[in-house]
């Protein structure tokens, strides 16, 4: 059983998703129980995987018994275990929230949700470049349908842009993968890393082109500066539990950048090593600046949070661009924090919108909220965490990142990162005071919110104090993860024990 554990995060959501898609008309309760139970089980599996990966051993699961480099492998190391656990926890919060009524606004919510989880988990676990493409497509196709869940003009319109852009991105992904296969003759990431070491000089240009095309694709997924314009609208239009789950989607792109450029274009690659560094560093700083302006300019809470997602993308990619072990470790800590908190804020925005009736989430005077006190408290926690105020996890994550910058990087990173925190603080305090204090005199007539919604939001926002309290062990783990990533030899040795003897 233990050796099959690695494949379970892919197989379990697949089976549950297929079962749920099989038209269970009318049995809402069964669907909800199945969806929540499956996601809960996923958290348990992810914890088991994390414990297994924590000792630094790299395990792989060869599909169909075909050994690498010939077959498709799933690779479990510290980074993939961490990302799978993060996905599972975020998804649990979202799916519990959705049981409060959002899942019945359209058909097949729970089935599609599970298929999306399958795609995300697969992308985090796979050790094969083409397989990464396939899992990207699985998660994208599920996300297209989830974005349209519930219908409505703004969703359809956002979906048209989102779908067309991502289809063009997929075409580019295939071209890049094809180029790399043509130049190296392999698709297994570890094998490709080895072969790049003995690459004939005349193919270096081809590989550079392929690598930079891959960067464009991953940049589109993670929404870096010239490629982010789809994000604010799509995230603001998506139904709340879906938008919250989408908080991990940009991180899939960041994970792919981390994985591909540390493993394939790591120390083996000679002249081609770290060829993404300058691009990622400058573009991420520009993303950070533009996203801060977006945060300040947003006139709708959901749009504001979408821009906060962009701020976190800029921050994380700046960590990638710094390219040191400490920077990677701190960006992984920040990634845990920002994913869960922005996910929680999307859910919270939906609850605030539900209680304000017609005004919705627009930042204008509205009627007073029925359960305003508790909502305001949660909003305060979320806002403090995301803006990076102590004592919550955002402050620790930012401090770690600021500390990891080298003297040459400090003049660029420090002002931008601190200004983005200030911008978030200004925008969120304006939004909060408008929502909770500047009310029109009127009756409190909003419906009371269901306990599912409170549980979902509570679960995600509680992650911030928890991450702050457990900052020591968590940052130890992320530091170990970063040093594992910095040594791609570990993966190569684990997957291809006789790579040294190969001709």
């Amino acid at each position: 059983m233990m050796q099959h554990l690695i494949v379970l995060p892919v197989v379990l959501p697949l089976l549950t998703g297929l079962f749920l898609l099989r038209g269970l008309h009318g049995s809402t309760r069964l669907k909800r129980v199945l969806g929540v139970a499956s996601t809960g089980l996923l958290v348990v599996i992810a914890l088991a995987l994390l414990l297994r990966a924590a000792d630094g051993e790299i395990a792989y699961y060869a599909m169909g018994g075909w050994q690498p480099p010939f077959g498709i492998v799933l690779v479990l190391d510290r980074l993939s275990a961490l990302m799978v656990l993060l996905t599972a926890v975020l998804a649990l919060g979202c799916v519990i929230f959705a049981c409060g009524g959002d899942d019945e606004k359209g058909s097949n919510f729970h089935g599609l949700f599970q298929l999306q989880l399958m795609g995300i988990n697969g992308a985090f676990l796979t050790g094969d470049l083409f397989n990464l493409f396939v899992f990207f497509e699985v998660l994208l196709l599920a996300s297209y349908a989830l974005l349209l869940h519930g219908g409505g003009k703004s969703r359809t319109q956002a979906a048209v842009h989102y779908v067309v852009l991502n289809l063009a991105g997929s075409a580019l992904f295939l071209i890049a993968v094809g180029t790399l296969y043509g130049a190296t003759g392999t698709l297994n990431m570890a094998d490709m890393a080895v072969r790049l070491g003995e690459l004939p000089a005349e193919r270096a240009g081809l590989v550079t082109a392929g690598a930079l095309m891959l960067l464009v694709v991953f940049g589109l997924k993670s929404a870096i500066l010239p490629l982010y314009f789809w994000l604010p609208r799509a995230y603001a239009a998506a139904p709340a539990p879906v938008a919250a789950l989408f908080a991990i989607m940009t991180k899939v792109g960041i994970y792919a950048i981390l994985r591909v450029y540390s493993l394939i274009f790591g120390e083996h690659a000679g002249d081609l090593a770290d060829l993404e560094q300058p691009w990622v560093w400058w573009l991420s700083l520009a993303t950070l600046a533009i996203a801060t302006l977006g945060v300040l300019a947003a006139r709708d809470l959901r749009l504001l949070i979408a821009y906060l997602v962009l701020v976190s993308v800029g921050t994380l990619l700046a960590g990638v661009g710094m390219g040191t072990v400490e920077a990677t470790a701190s960006l992984l800590y920040y990634l845990l924090h920002s994913t869960l908190v922005t996910g929680g804020l999307f859910l919270l925005a939906e609850m605030i919108g539900l209680q304000r009736g017609k005004a919705g989430t627009r930042i204008v005077k509205g009627r007073p909220l029925t359960q305003g006190g508790l909502l305001a408290l949660l909003f305060l926690v979320g806002a403090m965490a995301v803006a990076g105020l102590p004592p919550l996890s955002g402050a620790i994550g930012k401090a770690l990142l600021l500390n990891a910058a080298t003297p040459a990087q400090q003049p660029w990173l420090w002002p931008l990162l601190l200004a983005s925190g200030l911008g978030a603080m200004v925008a969120l305090s304006r939004a909060g005071s408008t929502f909770f204090w500047r009310n029109k005199s009127g009756e409190r007539s909003g419906e009371r919110l269901s306990r599912h919604q409170w549980t979902g939001v509570g679960l995600l926002l509680a992650a911030s104090p928890l991450l702050a309290a457990l900052a020591g062990p968590v940052s130890d783990y992320t530091l170990a993860t970063a040093s594992q990533l910095a040594n791609p030899d570990n993966v190569v040795d684990a997957l291809l024990p006789d790579a040294g003897d190969a001709p």
């Binding site: 497509e137 048209v160 067309v164 075409a171 094809g178 180029t179 043509g182």
Partner: protein, 115 residues
């Protein structure tokens, strides 16, 4: 053969790219289809172009690399599903928005914005 193949792929992707940048959903969908054809051809050529080669390794003679063929098959299936989805989505956008512009705006509005 190589130059013919390269020209075909290039023309297909150029047409696809041009059509994707158009303002209405139908040309965009056709453009995506053309682009996916170009990508499939490109992937196919990545194993090297051979004629009369065996599909599996057969002694020291020429053989056709089977892996790109498997990749193209996967890409075709995925591309087919995505095209179907894009068609349905653009039909729904036409229904919801009342026009087939990718931004969902009406002709008159755009002219007003232009002025």
């Amino acid at each position: 053969m190589e130059s013919l193949y390269a020209i075909t792929t290039g023309v297909l992707s150029a047409c696809g790219l041009y059509l994707i940048l158009r303002g209405r959903t139908f040309p965009v969908v056709v453009g995506l289809t053309l682009l996916s054809y170009a990508v499939n051809l490109f992937l196919f050529s990545m194993g090297g172009l051979t004629t009369d080669g065996a599909a599996i390794i057969d002694g020291p003679r020429d053989y056709a690399d089977p892996l790109p063929q498997a990749l193209v098959l996967t890409a075709i299936v995925i591309g087919f599903a995505m095209t179907a989805f894009a068609v349905i989505l653009s039909m729904r956008a036409r229904g919801d928005m009342g026009n087939d512009h990718v931004d969902g705006r009406k002709q008159e509005e755009r002219e007003e914005n232009h002025r």
